[in-house]
Each structure stands twice: as C-alpha cells, then as structure tokens.
C-alpha cells in the first residue's frame, strides 16, 4: 500500500515536471450586432402606430428575443460580429460613425427598414450638387421630389443658403403618386465651401416636414480654364473670339498669332505645346500646316482637349481632314441668319456631306454651319459662320461654347480627397497626379501610389477648422477641392430606401421591412453557425494537484509510522 501511495505522489510530481498539454474542444454562439441608425426622420409615424423610432426598437427587441439561442445579440457595432443588422430608414454614415473603425467588408450587413409611405406627403427622394465649381459658374442643384396624395396641389422647392432663399421653382402634382425633378441654379457669391439647403413645401399641410429638406455642400474655387487662341494667319474671326474670351474671367487666355512673314507674336502663357490648354481656338485654320494639323489631332485624341476651328474663308488646306466635310457650299445671304442663340452670320460655309459622327450645333439643323464631333478623348468643333464677327452680340455664344468645351476636357491636373466630409482628427487621403499638394497654405508631399502617375498622401483634420481647401498644381494648371466637417451635409442625397437596400446588398446582406422581420430572423437562424472552439489545456497547471500529492505523501508517511518503519 505504501508503494502505491508513494508511486501516486511520484506520478503527480513527474506530471508537474513534464507539464503535458492537450486540446479541449467546445462550441460558442456567433455575435450579431444590431444598431439603430439614428436620423431625424425616425420621428415620423410608422405603419402600425407609433413612430419609426418605436418600430426600430421593437425590431431590435424581436431580434434579441428570437435569436438569443443561436446568436449572441449585442447593441451597436462590434468588430468581431459574424453578422450585422442596421435598423432605420437611412444608410449609416460609415465614414463618420463608429462603423468606420470596423472591417465592414467581412461580415454581412442586413438592413431592417422602418420607412413607410405616408398617405399625404412630400419628400425629397434624392438631391445632388456638383462637388466643385468655379466662382464664375452657376451650379445646377438637382432634386427629385416625391408627392403622394397631393394631386392638384402645389409644391414649392426652394434653395437656401444661410436661411436666405436663392432660387425657387413650383410644380402642381398631376397624379397621386408622382416624382418631380427640380433644378435650381446656384451662383456662388465667393470662393469657399457653401452649405445649401433644399426645402420642399406643399400647399397642402403635411403631417411632417422632416423629410422635406436636405443639405448639400458645394465647393467653389477660382481656378480658370486655359484657352489658347492660335492663329496661323491674322483673322478677324479668331481675333473676335479671342476678344470675347478675354473679357470672360472664367478663362486664362493665351494667344499666338503669325503676325507677318516670319514674325509671330504671343500673349499670355508661353506656348510649349497644346497639351497645357483646355481648349484651343484656331483662327484662320486654312493656314495651318500639315504639322500643325497633326499636332492638333494628337492634342484632341491624346490629351482629350477640344479644338474650335473658326473659319473666315472657304475651308481648304491640310485642316480639311479635321473639318466636318471634304467639301463645302458657300452661302451668301442678303440678311444675316440666326446660327445659334445669339450668333448671327450672313456668309456661311456649309458642309455639304458631313462625315459620320458630326452633329450640328445650329438652331437650323438643315444648315449645319456649326458642327461638333467627339474625337478620341476630345472634341472638334467647326464654325463656318465666316462673318459672325460682324454681329457683335455673338460674344456670349462663344464664351459659353468655349466654357462648355473646357468643362469636357479632362483636367491636366486633378486632386481628390477621401472622405470629402470628414470628422475632427480624421485622416484624410489626398490623391493627385501632381507630387505636391497644398492644404490651405501648407504644402504636403505626395508619394507614388498604386497606379502609375498617381501620388498619394495623408493629413489629419486640423482642430477647429470647418473646411479646408486642397490644391494641386502641375505645369501651371491648378486643381482644387474642398474637405468639410459637416455631418449634416453631403454632396449628394440618394433615395434613402433604395440606398439602404443597395447598402445591404453591397455588404452581402438583405433588406426587409420591420413588419417582415420574421423572414430575417429565420434566415439568421439558419445561417447561425455555432463556432467550434478548441483550446490547449495544461492539466498539471492546476494548484489543486498539491492536495492529492500532499495527501498521498501524508498517508504513506502515516502507514510507515504505524509499522514502525523509518
């Protein structure tokens, strides 16, 4: 017996020295995070009584009650969640909220919408504004307004800045369910970031107007479009268009003219090639050489620039291959005719068999004196209004035409920020095709990014700043954008229901209504996978082994004493 007891104690001691390890397997419930997306519209009445907020809470409770066996349901986003559910009527602001810290790409995100259609309601379905315009441009602010149960009543859509109405439009609903697309123009009063608000008000009182207003951000800069007026021979048409452009602050004009044999004169930015310009206006194109025509062709196709050919004589010479037709009809009119709004002429060169792709820009499509064609990445425009200079009111037309062409030309330099709406202290990523950017007045170095020719950098949102301008410059061309800290505004609002559905689909989830939450519960039940877990156990680490060890030794010692053994 004593041997047994001694042996047992020795085994325990040996086990402690060896410290063996073994695997222990078990199963645990996956985590389901549920978050209610808090938006002002949750105060709206919901189907089945109460507010949307009440409905959202009921949906969250239903998830807790019905899925507790399969899921560990927690409130709010959790980084280890196996699935997520957002409850509400709008997409969560992932860039701004706690979601931004999560790896949202792995776990599916389902959505439970509490939105419902009110029987009598006007709501702004979607709205958008250009993120960045120049101070000389008018920004088109678009909004889609849905009216329900308001047939025969009027809706007024207004654009506000600092509570001052800037523009408005009205619409009378023609049917019970209708979407009205409103466009309001915004003329920026200054360079910087402008917070605009669209408000829709109905002539019939609504139960709520919380979904009748959205805020938008429009950044404004003073970057001018660069236009070259190139004249291989002096021409009045070229000079006239140049004068029209020169007067317009939207443009930075450079000019080069062959003033006489062997004598060229230049004004503005030195000409080192066409690529640094957004638009090239060619006066007297009939005097272009083969090499000049080829250079213009490369500029249009490669750079994506626009070339405006303003003829003052019957087209001829190498440039005809850039023109809309190989041959032209000469038309001399007793009285000037309207070519386009604000543009008149009486001596016309009309393409008699336009080449494929050329589209008339003229009021009278049977006499296509002005034609345009996309070519490569750029665009060619031909004007056969030979004596349009005689009718001076055409300046505005040329300004608008050149502005439109310039807007189509891809910028020689671009800069982007992500996210465009930030939160204090957040890291903002800047990408540009220029290696240097300026954050307000401070320069930051950008480094080569993943794509060839793209440079990236980061900066942290400075404290106590509402908006900052990010500028990049390359060979004199400037690009500018604005970052804002304004959680209440965006550069675009999408249809909330559609957006929520798209958001869920984009994250591998599905959208259900709160009334139909049973479907989601069933699906989550089926997809819940108890996670097998295994862990390494070292049994000898327990301090309780000391007890049997001591007991065995004590018993063995007692027996030995009774037998008078030493």
């Amino acid at each position: 017996m004593m041997r047994v007891l001694r042996g047992a104690a020795i085994v325990i001691a040996a086990g402690g020295v060896v410290d063996p390890a073994c695997d222990a397997r078990s199963y645990e419930r996956p985590t389901l995070s549920v978050e209610i997306v808090e938006t002002p519209s949750l105060v709206l009445p919901a189907e089945g009584g109460g507010t949307r907020w009440d409905l959202a809470r009921r949906a969250r409770q239903a998830l807790r009650d019905n899925l507790g066996a399969q899921w560990e349901v927690v409130d709010g986003p959790v980084s280890t969640a196996a699935a997520r559910v957002v409850v509400g009527d709008a997409v969560p602001a992932i860039e701004l909220g706690p979601w931004s810290d999560l790896q949202t790409g792995r776990a599916p995100i389902h959505a439970v919408t509490v939105a419902s259609q009110l029987p009598t309601n006007v709501r702004i379905v979607s709205a958008s504004a250009p993120r960045q315009i120049t101070i000389w441009d008018a920004a088109a602010i678009d909004a889609s307004i849905e009216g329900r149960g308001l047939k025969g009543h009027k809706v007024t859509v207004r654009l506000f800045k600092d509570d001052v109405a800037l523009a408005s439009t009205e619409h009378v609903w023609q049917s019970d369910v209708e979407v009205f697309d409103a466009r309001l123009m915004f003329l920026p009063p200054a360079v910087g970031l402008h917070r605009l608000e669209i408000r829709a008000s109905s002539s019939l009182a609504e139960r709520t107007d919380v979904d009748n207003r959205v805020s938008l951000l429009v950044g404004t800069n003073a970057v001018r479009r660069r236009v070259l007026v190139y004249q291989p021979r002096l021409s009045w048409m070229g000079a006239f268009v140049a004068r029209a452009i020169e007067r317009d602050p939207r443009f930075e004009l450079a000019a080069r003219a062959q003033a006489s044999r062997g004598v060229a004169v230049s004004a503005g930015k030195a000409l080192e090639g066409f690529d640094t310009f957004d638009v090239v206006v060619v006066g007297a194109p009939d005097a272009l050489t083969d090499a000049e025509v080829e250079a213009l062709n490369r500029y249009v196709n490669g750079r994506g620039g626009s070339v405006l050919l303003v003829a003052d004589r019957r087209p001829g010479g190498p440039y005809v291959r850039l023109a809309p037709s190989a041959s032209f009809d000469e038309v001399l009119l007793q009285k000037p005719t309207d070519i386009a709004p604000g543009l008149r002429a009486s001596e016309l060169s009309v393409p008699n068999r336009p080449r494929e792709g050329w589209e008339p820009l003229t009021s009278d499509r049977t006499q296509p004196v002005l034609m345009s064609v996309p070519r490569g990445r750029g665009r060619l425009v031909f004007s056969g209004a030979l004596d349009a200079w005689r009718y001076r009111e055409g300046s505005r037309y040329w300004q608008d035409l050149v502005a439109g062409l310039a807007a189509r030309t891809p910028a020689d330099v671009h800069v982007q920020v992500e996210p465009p709406v930030a939160r204090p202290g957040e890291l903002i990523e800047v990408s540009s095709n220029a290696p240097l950017a300026r954050i307000d007045d401070q320069a930051i170095r950008l480094w080569p990014g993943g794509e060839p020719g793209i440079f990236r950098g980061q900066f942290r949102w400075p404290a106590a700043t509402e908006s900052i301008s990010v500028t990049a410059e390359k060979e004199g061309a400037i690009a500018q954008t604005v970052v804002s800290v304004d959680p209440g505004a965006a550069d675009a609002w999408r249809d909330r229901d559609a957006a929520l559905g798209a958001f869920a689909a984009a994250h591998g989830g599905r959208i259900v209504s709160a009334q139909d939450i049973g479907r989601l519960v069933n699906e989550l039940r089926q997809t819940a996978e108890r996670r097998p877990t295994s862990r390494t156990v070292r049994p000898m680490h327990s301090v309780w082994w000391i007890a049997p060890f001591a007991a065995f030794l004590a018993a063995e010692w007692t027996l030995r004493r009774r037998r008078h053994l030493h």
């Binding site: 004249q231 002096l234 021409s235 009045w236 000079a239 006239f240 140049a242 004068r243 000019a255 003219a257 003033a259 006489s260 044999r261 004598v263 004169v265 230049s266 004004a267 030195a270 003052d312 001596e347 004596d387 005689r390």
Partner: protein, 451 residues
Amino acid sequence: MSYSREEVKAITDKILNMAKADAVEVSFSGGERSACRYANSSITANLVEHDQEVEITVYYGQKTASTSTHQFDDASLKTAINQVQELAKRKPDNPELMPPVKPPQEYLSVESALSPAVNFGPAERAQLVKKSIDICEKKGVLGAGYIPKMHWTDALANSEGLFAYHRYANASFILTCRTPDGTGSGWSGTTGVIDPTTIDAAGLTEVAADKAVTSRKPRALEPGNYTVILEPRPAARFLALMMGIFNARAAEEGRSFMSGAQRGETKLGQKLFGENVTIRSEIGHPMLRQTPVGPDGLAARSLPWVEKGVVKNLFYDRFWAKKQGKEPTPTAPQMSLVMEGGTTSVAEMIKTTKRGLLVTFFWYIRVVEPMTLLNTGMTRDGLFLIENGEITGPAQNFRWNESPAVGFNNITALGPSILMHTGEAYDNPGTALVPALRIEDFTMTSISPAV
C-alpha cells in the same frame, strides 16, 4: 497774333519766380487757329481764334500736380500757382515721376513760321474756296471743304533754367466732292503746308470731283484678298496704325507687337518689314519743318525707326530709360515722320497692276488686336477696280481687316513721299511725308454700304 521768344520768356520767367515748389515747369502754347469751311458751294463758317495758355506743373519730391490758365495777369497766375502747389502737396507719390530736364539742350534751329503761312488769312482762304467751287460747279458736283490754318507758338521752361521755343505756321486744304444724287463721292487734300501759296485748290478739286463723278454706280465685288494701291492719305493712316509699336516699355513688358519671345526681350534689330520700308524721324526736314523740341524738353534728333525693314530704334521715355539703364530717346516716333518713298507714280502703279483696287480714303479705323496690329476700317470716297493696268470702274466700298505688320511686308511699289496728315482729323500736328503704296494681298472682308 504771334508770340516772340522774348515775350514768352517773360511770361514763363514770371511764373517760375512766383512758384515756391521744389521744381516748376511751365508749358506755354498760344497763337492763331483759324479755318474756313464750305459746303454745297458756299462758305459756311469762317473761324479765327486767338488763344494763349500756360500749363504749370509743380514738383514736391515725388509729388506733382498741374494746372492751366488762359489769364496771364499777376493775380490769376498767383491764384493758379497757389492752387496747384496745394494740390501737389496732397497728391500721393508718383514713383515714376522724373525731375524736369536740365539745360543745356541744343535744339536744332528750324524756321517753321514762313510769312506766306503766317499771313494766310480769310481773304486768301476765300480765294481757294472760289477756285474750288468754280470747279465743283463746272463738274456738277457738290464740294465740302475745310481749310485750316495754324500759327502757333509752343514753349517749355523750367526752374532748372531750361527754355525751349518753337513757332510754326501752316495750312491745309481738304475737300470731299459728292454728286448731287449722293451716289458718288471723291476726296482730295493736302495738309501741313508751310507755304499755302503752293496749294493747288483747283487741281485738288478736279481730282475730288472726278472721283465723285466716276465713283457712281459702283460694282459689288467679292470680298477677298486684293492688290491695293493706297493713295497717300490712306497710306498715312495705315502707317499711323503701327507707330505705337516703338514704345520700348510696352515691348519689354510683353504688351506689344515688338515684344520678344521672352519677357524683357524685344524685336529690336530684327527684320520685320519689307526691304523697301524705311521710316525715320527727320527733325528739321525742310518740307515738314516741325518742332525740334522732343519729349519733356529734350533736344530732338533725327533717327531711324525702320531701315530697309529692320527695326533700328525703340522709344525709351526718361523713366523707363533710367530703370533699364539706357539713354532716353529724345525723339518721339511720330515727330517729323518720313516714310521713304519711291519713284513710281500712282498712274504707273495702276498700269502695272493686273487686278486690284485704287483706294482714296480709309475711315472708321479701329484696333482689333494690339499685339498683332490687326485693325479694321472701311474704304470711302472713291474705290476703283483696276483690271489689266486700267481703272475699269468704281467698286462698292469694303470693310478691311489688315495688320500693317502684314501690309508693310507686302509692298511692291512706292510713290514719291508727299505731305499728308496721319491722324483722323487734320487740325493738330501730325503731318508726315508719306508715299502712295501698292500692297499685295490686302484683306477686304465684306462689302460696306458707304459711298
């Protein structure tokens, strides 16, 4: 009324002594300005104006102000001086202000007030009118003419001791004839004549009347590029369009046709015009007899602007010359201007022209593009088609768009230089010696309804 050197000096000295400013400059001008106008074969206006004026400029450091007065009594002068002195003190500094020019300045002696012009009075002008009207009646046209006369004194004095004085007298005869039905018109004239007895009123009227008669029922031609023969009057206007390009500051600041490829560079020394183009200021030229006093009172000197097409000089005013470390140019480009002519008469030019236009007159000229010197204007008062060496008939007037930079490269014939005013009006100085020009490829852009 004329002012002798002594009379003028007494006035300027009196003003200089009255003024208390750091520096003072007095510019005197005065004399007789008269004219006779006639229209529809009778005199409509006979004007004689005697005037005198001093312009007083005072300097306080870099501050300056000017005033002028026509009253030369002590009280009026004192009031004007006190006012301008107070005004100058309140003015902001002018960083480009240059101090008055210091003597000595050696002015060329130019006798510009010859007795035939000094004594050219209403009676003499009436005689010219009579001769002209007789021709008009004979030719059955209506004549409208202008015969201005200037007998004028300009002087400049300053507190540094400078005194410059120039007196001149000249007359002009300008005439437009129209057919009674208003469908034909002709122009003729001569300007800046220092001996009015040489004015051939009858001959000039014959030219204008013949042009009026023969310019009726013009033929409309296609706009396009034509060989043009510019008679001296349109040639003078065309020349005047480019005289501004010689300003060195505009050229070096990149604002001018003369600007070089880089900022600060110019086209000085480059051959910009045809071999047959030579333009110079010829101070003391016996036909022009214009002032020898240059800008700010510097002694003007003859100098070439363009020689055989090559730009020889640019004009540096005193401020820009100092800034650029150069000598100021004592002669302004428009002073005593001579464009070297040739030996080909207008008749010979016509004979050797296969197809072209004879241009009598340019009007309503406006700048389109200063950098390229592109200008636009219209023809008037006699435009004729030349075919195979002969005038074949009147042509409907044109609007033209052309640059003298192009035109002065395309000159194929020059006539003898004659006196002709380069400005739009005829009253003030501005007469130059200009030849008739034949220019190829002159751009006529559209029909003009003018007569």
